[in-house]
């Protein structure tokens, strides 16, 4: 079985910490993926207008590239990319009329019918190594670390593309993942809520308020840190913390990690695989203070 990998725009630049930690971890776990030789932006948001098919072309092209590379599956990390690619794939599988129109429009490509399966990285882990298998591979268990699993919107909604491979019910992929790493997942009310998304561009005040609600909820749960899978969530809940603190009373510094960074730490990979310099400073500090990673030689 061949697995193609779709990075998406942000993972090649500002979210290099998400990509590098994820790929290093897959290599350590012996799971082989191949980055698509040629890929384009997925569009970041799935087109919701019934009469607008042109915005489906970009994600469908990526799916075609994966099929043409001989892949059975296409895996991706960014929650938004996952959402767009998975929904575009369903559209091509299930909506005959729209499939025909899109295929007719793309006359250079061989018709696509949804042959490739889109899987989020978390599902790829669950389906290949499995949570028990992952636990056995952990060399630095994250014991004592209380982590708030933040799903946000795109990993779970709409239900047809929800990760976890379960029908309905509360999601558990991130909780099971964290437990396998030796960490303790905590419950918090905002786990499946919106982080504020692109409100920053149109309603910045309301956007900050929204992120403040999420961070307050994390804080009340007693979590040491948040894990997530989306560069937009990381921006709203991480990088924006100083602004949120100025707008919403009582919000403290909360470390924010991509889930793959904790994976790399727990697998005992070299600290450079995590690219923690791209995180907000509280993230690396937490790992050092708790001795999950070794302090650099100069500090010993």
């Amino acid at each position: 079985m061949k697995i193609s990998y779709y990075p998406g725009c942000t993972l090649k630049t500002k979210a290099k910490n998400l990509e590098d930690s994820a790929l290093a971890s897959l290599a350590a776990l012996g799971i082989e993926v191949e980055e698509l030789e040629r890929w384009n932006c997925c569009g970041a948001v799935f087109s919701l207008a019934d009469d607008d098919l042109i915005h489906q072309v970009a994600p469908v092209r990526d799916l075609i590239r994966a099929r043409d590379a001989g892949a059975d599956k296409l895996t991706t990390l960014c929650a938004q990319c996952y959402n767009v690619l998975a929904r575009a794939n369903r559209l091509m599988r299930e909506d005959e009329e729209k499939r025909k129109t899109i295929n007719l429009f793309m006359d250079e490509e061989v018709d696509y019918h949804g042959e490739v399966e889109v899987v989020h990285y978390l599902d790829l882990l669950r389906e290949t190594v499995g949570w028990d298998g992952l636990r056995e591979r952990v060399t630095v268990p994250l014991e004592g670390m209380k982590v708030a699993p933040f799903y946000g919107c795109s990993l779970l909604r709409p239900s047809e593309v929800a990760i976890g491979g379960e029908d309905g019910g509360a999601p558990r992929a991130l909780q099971d993942f964290l437990t396998a790493l030796g960490a303790t997942p905590v419950k918090f009310s905002a786990s499946e809520e919106c982080c504020g998304a692109y409100e920053v561009l149109v309603n910045p005040v309301e956007g900050l308020k929204r992120a403040g609600v999420v961070l307050s909820s994390v804080q009340e749960s007693g979590a040491d840190a948040i894990v997530l899978s989306c560069p937009l969530c990381e921006y709203n809940l991480g990088r924006k913390q100083p602004e949120i603190q100025a707008a919403v009373a009582g919000v403290r510094d909360i470390p924010v990690f991509y889930f793959t960074q904790l994976l790399a730490v727990a697998l005992g990979l070299d600290v450079t695989a995590g690219r923690f310099e791209l995180n907000i400073p509280s993230a690396l500090k937490l790992l050092r203070d708790r001795k999950y990673i070794e302090a650099p030689a100069t500090q010993v």
Partner: protein, 135 residues
């Protein structure tokens, strides 16, 4: 909110546009208010999602279009997955946005975004924002 609905206020053409773009039947809404209760932005909306559905049913699409409601909606799909009538409310909100955007009325001007903000933001914020807020 008290509204007098005159028969001539019913804008059939606009109602049909909402139906065409969203692919949804707004008359399925029974006004239970689940959408408003789960909407993370409803606290900041002068017209809540439930109220928006009611106004649209009565052909008062313009009232919703002149509010900030469609632009406060971040398409988180919370309402849609919980709607007991199976209405994809997110698509109804998208239709409202599209009606405005297709008149070449953009909600964000890239030239007005400060350079520091652009260099700090992840690409995905800009791409998603431009997709949702510009024509």
């Amino acid at each position: 909110m008290s509204i007098t609905i005159l028969l001539r206020a019913l804008d059939r053409a606009m109602l049909e546009r909402v139906a065409e773009i969203s692919g949804q039947n707004v008359y399925k809404c029974m006004q239970c208010g689940t959408c408003t209760s789960v909407c993370p932005m409803s606290g900041d909306m002068e017209i809540t999602p439930r109220q928006a559905m009611l106004l649209i049913q009565h052909g008062l699409v313009d009232m919703v279009l002149s509010s900030r409601t469609p632009w406060l909606c971040a398409s988180c799909h919370s309402c849609q997955v919980r709607c007991p009538r199976g209405i994809e409310v997110t698509r109804v909100m998208e239709a409202l946005r599209q009606i405005i955007l297709r008149e070449n009325r953009d909600m964000v001007n890239p030239r007005e975004i400060p350079a520091e903000a652009i260099s700090e933001m992840p690409q995905i914020a800009l791409v998603a924002g431009f997709r949702k807020l510009t024509s």
